[in-house]
């Protein structure tokens, strides 16, 4: 169960109060009616699904109700930062996240090297 810092409540709260809302910083095209089928598929379906630092949206749905953004390492599940919706993508300290984090299962489980 994650512990998530809500940038509006300015407080760490249990994941039980939150809903994940997909990758962040995917802007809805302003002239969406005009874009090509390929561009629409790109906007609506294609995702980076990064291993390592990912930018994502959460909603504090059982709290302040606000959507906000987070940078999280999808290997360690550690949050690097959270910030309010509408702010541009915030740079995170170049942690080379995946190297510093511990892939417990993959690094210690059945390592047959």
């Amino acid at each position: 169960m994650l512990l998530i810092h809500c940038p509006y409540c300015e407080h760490d709260r249990s994941e039980l109060e939150f809903r994940w809302a997909g990758e962040a910083h995917i802007a809805r095209p302003e002239t969406i009616a005009e874009i090509s089928d390929e561009a629409f598929a790109e906007y609506f379906f294609l995702r980076d699904n990064d291993k390592g630092v990912t930018y994502e949206r959460w909603r504090h749905i059982h709290g302040c109700g606000r959507f906000f953004n987070a940078a999280r390492d999808t290997v360690s599940d550690r949050f690097l930062m959270t910030y309010k919706a509408g702010l541009p993508k915030q740079p995170v300290a170049d942690v080379a996240a995946t190297e510093q984090t511990i892939e417990t299962y993959e690094q210690t489980e059945g390592d047959a090297r």
Partner: protein
């Protein structure tokens, strides 16, 4: 109950142990009655009576005894019952405390523990090598599931699952702390004192009934001049008196999850003879800790040698616990087989208690000098550089075969118990669960915490810190405060080995058990390697080593060492299997805690629920809601009741509880602009006082929800949604509002539960409600179809919609929820006086289907566009943007031949199609058939005097007039494709 020391068991040692004979408890084991002392575990109580044989192993059904004195126990798994419903299989005898009246039984044996037919497997064991089942049982093809598998399944398994519903209850508590300390041995207690001194909120947890950890057996360590165990109890009392410390005993930290979250299981009543009714059996603690101190100690390993599994063979520290804590000796003539100094201390304690030590067999050439000297002083024979090559004894060890390592000369030494130690394995389970990374300590042959992934620190034996003074310093520092504690041990321990001992090497075929419960032997592990299993995970899975209910606490290191030896590779390169939660098994009931029965899932009821129940309603589940389904009168079944309700609505009027429909109040100057973006329809043209049916699509263009939206004022809309859709629609709207259109000045508020909604439908609807309504002209002219107004109903502020989901003249009366019951009663009385009735969701479904009105989620399924559903008219052609505008124009959504909603009429009017039935053009085609679509809604329509149906059919609207077929299991039904309106095609009735 009291008893004389005699019937407390012949193996009690007078003056030994910490239990008091003043309080005793009686229990039965396999039908025989025994007396125990309070504080005994089932294991210590049985051992006191000389009972070693307590179980049979999983695969070979070999006789097994008690191996340990703690949660790592792989053998002594028993069935413990308070009564027939409170029966628990697979209970570790070494953990379960005896309580008066306990009925305890052995498992996995038939007909009896001493004579178990399944033991024939032991004779056949050469055949049952690891993984043998992958290589056979393949012929004939069906035989696996019909013949072999049932036999294997019956032979496998351990305990018998409870047959009755559990009458006990369980509790849950979320808690927070600055520091959680797992383990209350010397290290944990020291860390707690230190942390508590800083003012931190501390939770100290230990799985045993009392604090003390290894001090339970270690009677020689002194702390602050006191016997260590006494110091521990005094320290716990001191801590318990501090307001910032909570001590949880009988509580296991079973899981260490993300972000400082830990799961704890507290055993509350399992040790009590007569627990209070309010007491939960167990309590789940879900703790969020800022910091965690792991003081989980170490677990002693057994020696891997031939026939090392006979009852009477046990870990040295366990024998010491039974002696020093429970006052029980494990035998009269005890052998010792060790590769570690710690077992010597067990021998010393036993010897001093008057037990004969047959010999200490030490595989090392050079044990610690101090322990050897002490052994000499006590007159114990020490055989260094020797090995136990085998044991004998059918249901209990009777002798051990001892030889000098490298020599073939052996001698047989009679023993009635053999205590063993191959050294200690640090308990790094929780550390690993926290996703920390281990390193291999080559010198001591153990894995230790290395890189931490969370705010956590390991102290004491689980961190490889064994020496008492260093351990105390380490723990004190981890606590963050300052404490001065002096500790002193009599002997510094050295030694330890992993892997197979002498005589169980690669060239042998003896059964030297690595994993007792699963009957995995050293040769099984070698076989796995020989078969190409070179990763420890493959070896584990192939042999099942470490997969039993003890999860490899004893076996993993041995298995790894044997594999490494066989592979001729350094041990750490073979890898380590994952330490998975839970640390010890956790009862489902505990994990579920309060979430059962009425608290399993909220059953949402409308304000008129009780009234409808009193009126005889049958209810159906719709999402979390309970909705009145139909109102059977005396002698009516569902069909008759629904037919009557449907008929009555069209002839007179009916009253329906529509409160569960979702309602969202959309307020602000940009409200219409926002709805324009979220619905396919145009909203700026809707005038205040009017309402409109709206369709919501997702960005992909498929129908997401629908509902009537009323405009109360320029800046205020009353939006309705489907019952199940309410929360997700609001979430979807908030998503767009907050993140895509944040500049719009509009706010959304859920009002689903603010309003009780009473639908009155039918020709007499107006007549029914008119006397109750104030401040509104209800005439067709003043308040036509699709009007909305704020008014007063029975003296309370109300919102009245003129609308219809039946095709009849209709109103929906919204009153504040607390008034719903009173207004419902008044409306119901007026309706029934006029010959109308209450109707439920089933009649509602039929009535709307007669009119061809869709239900999102039934007639659509997330792959249906508005046009597919015949609602193309609701998609604005003028708007340049709305959610779904682009998705709708994708090639597949524009193509010909899409499934479209149409009506179906069966050739035989009495045939009611099955909802979900599939439709074909040619019923005689071979399978797999080409299916054109399926029946979404189908009913007997009393008002049409025949069956009606709606269906999604490929190219459906172009097929109107055609005959298609619905092939059922027993017959094929011919149907004619029609439009979707079956009743009042002109639509006049809705206007009154």
């Amino acid at each position: 109950m009291s008893g004389s020391p005699n019937n407390l068991g012949a193996f009690r040692i007078k003056g030994a142990g910490r239990l008091t004979p003043a309080r005793t408890a009686r229990f039965t084991f396999d039908g025989k009655s025994y007396t125990a002392m309070e504080g005994d575990t089932v294991a210590s109580a049985l051992l006191a009576h000389g009972v070693h044989l307590v179980g049979r192993s999983f695969k070979y059904h070999r006789p097994r005894g008690i191996l340990s004195a703690g949660p790592e126990e792989p053998n002594a798994l028993l069935d413990v019952a308070r009564d027939s419903a409170r029966r628990q299989p697979n209970v570790r005898a070494t953990v379960q405390e005896v309580f008066d009246g306990a009925k305890i039984a052995s498992q996995n044996r038939w007909p009896s523990l001493a004579f178990d037919v399944g033991a024939v497997n032991n004779l056949l064991s050469p055949f049952f090598a690891a993984g043998f089942y992958y290589k056979t049982f393949m012929w004939p093809r069906e035989a696996w599931s019909k013949l072999y598998e049932p036999i294997i399944r019956r032979a496998a398994g351990l305990g018998v699952a409870p047959k009755e519903e559990d009458p006990d209850h369980y509790a849950n508590r979320f808690a927070h702390c600055d520091v959680l300390i797992a383990g209350a041995g010397v290290a944990g207690l020291t860390a707690a004192l230190s942390a508590a001194a800083t003012g931190a909120e501390v939770i100290l947890v230990d799985e045993q009934p009392e604090v003390g950890g290894a001090l339970h057996f270690d009677a020689s360590t002194m702390i602050d001049g006191q016997n260590g165990y006494d110091w521990a109890q005094a320290t716990a009392a001191k801590l318990a008196a501090m307001p910032n410390v909570r001590i949880l005993t009988r509580t296991t930290v079973f899981g260490y999850y993300n972000h400082g979250f830990l799961g704890l299981a507290e055993r509350v009543t399992d040790h009590l003879a007569r627990p209070g009714r309010d007491l939960p059996r167990e309590r789940l603690w879900q703790v969020r800790a800022k910091r965690v101190i792991l003081a989980t100690g170490a677990i002693e390993r057994h020696m891997v040698f031939a026939n090392n599994d006979r009852p009477g063979i046990m870990l040295a520290s366990a024998a010491r616990t039974f002696l020093n804590h429970h006052g029980v000796t494990v035998g009269r003539k005890v052998g010792v087989y060790t590769a570690h100094d710690s077992a010597y201390e067990a021998a010393f304690d036993l010897k001093r208690a008057g037990v004969t030590i047959a010999a200490i067999v030490d595989s090392r050439a050079k044990p610690g000098e101090a322990v050897v000297a002490e052994a000499k002083r006590l007159g114990i024979e020490v055989l260094t550089g020797h090995a136990v090559l085998d044991t004998s004894g059918r249901l209990r060890i009777s002798s051990m075969k001892v030889a000098r390592i490298g020599s073939t000369d052996s001698r047989k030494i009679a023993v009635d118990a053999l205590i063993v130690s191959a050294g200690w394995t640090p308990s790094v389970h929780l550390f690993s669960q926290s996703r920390g990374k281990l390193r291999y300590d080559e010198a001591q042959q153990r894995f230790l915490p290395d890189i931490y992934a969370q705010d956590c620190v390991s102290v004491g034996a689980c961190n490889g810190t064994d020496e008492i003074a260093a351990l105390i310093d380490e723990a004190a520092a981890a606590g963050g405060g300052t404490v001065a504690i002096g500790g002193e041990s009599r002997f510094a321990w050295t030694g330890g080995m992993i892997g197979a001992a002498e005589g169980a090497g690669p060239d042998t075929t003896v059964k030297a058990f690595v994993d007792f419960q699963h009957d995995v032997t050293a040769k099984d592990i070698r076989l796995a390697v020989r078969e190409g299993m070179h990763s420890i995970e493959h070896i584990k899975r192939f042999t099942t080593n470490g997969m039993a209910s003890d999860q490899g606490k004893l076996s993993n290191m041995h298995g790894l060492a044997i594999a490494a030896e066989m592979l001729d590779r350094p041990l750490p390169t073979v890898g380590l299997t994952t330490f998975r939660a839970p640390y010890t098994p956790v009862t489902y009931g505990t994990l579920v805690s309060h979430s059962r029965g009425d608290l399993f899932d909220p059953a949402r009821q409308t304000p008129m629920h009780a009234l409808q129940a009193a009126a005889g309603a049958a209810f159906e589940d719709v999402g979390n809601w309970k909705r009145a389904w139909y109102f059977p009168r005396r002698g009516e079944d569902m069909a008759v009741a629904v037919n009557r309700e449907c008929r009555t609505v069209r002839e007179v009027a009916g009253v329906f509880d529509a409160s569960t429909l979702g309602k969202i109040e959309v307020v602000g100057p940009d409200a219409a602009k926002f709805l324009n973006l979220l619905y396919t329809n145009a909203w700026d043209t809707l005038k205040p006082g009017k309402s409109r049916y709206g369709i919501m699509t997702r960005e992909d263009g498929f129908v997401y929800d629908d509902g009537v939206v009323g405009r109360l004022a320029e800046d205020r809309f009353h939006v309705t949604t489907t019952t199940g859709g309410a929360p997700r629609v609001l979430h979807h709207m908030e998503d767009y509002l907050q993140t895509e259109f944040p500049d719009l000045k509009v706010w959304l508020t859920s009002t689903t539960e603010q309003w009780a909604v009473i639908a009155v439908q039918g020709p007499k609807a107006r007549e029914i409600i008119a006397p109750l309504v104030e401040g509104l002209d209800l005439s067709n002219e003043a308040f036509p179809h699709m009007s909305v107004a704020e008014c007063t109903v029975m003296g309370v502020p109300a919102r009245l919609f003129r609308m219809s989901f039946t095709g009849e003249l209709g109103f929906e009366v919204n009153v504040p929820a607390d008034y719903g019951a009173a207004v419902w009663t008044a409306i119901r009385e007026r309706t029934e006086a006029l010959g109308g009735c209450l109707y439920g969701t089933e009649a509602m479904h039929v009535l709307r289907a007669e009119k061809g009105y869709i239900i999102v989620g039934q007639d659509t399924d997330g792959t249906v566009t508005p046009d597919d559903a015949g609602l193309g008219w609701a998609v604005s052609k003028k708007k340049t943007d709305f959610v779904g505008i682009r998705g709708l124009k994708r090639p597949d959504l524009m193509r010909d031949g899409r499934k479209q909603l149409v009506g179906l009429l069966t050739n035989r009017p009495s045939d009611v199609l099955e909802e979900g039935a599939q439709i074909v053009a040619d019923p005689n085609q071979p399978k797999p058939m080409t299916m054109l679509g399926h029946v979404t809604s189908a009913y007997w329509s009393e008002n049409c005097g025949r069956s009606i149906a709606m269906a999604l059919v490929a190219g459906g609207r172009a097929r109107i007039g055609q005959t298609l077929y619905v092939p059922m299991q027993d017959r094929t039904i011919a149907v004619e494709v029609t439009d979707t309106v079956f009743f009042d095609k002109e639509g006049g009735r809705i206007h009154g």
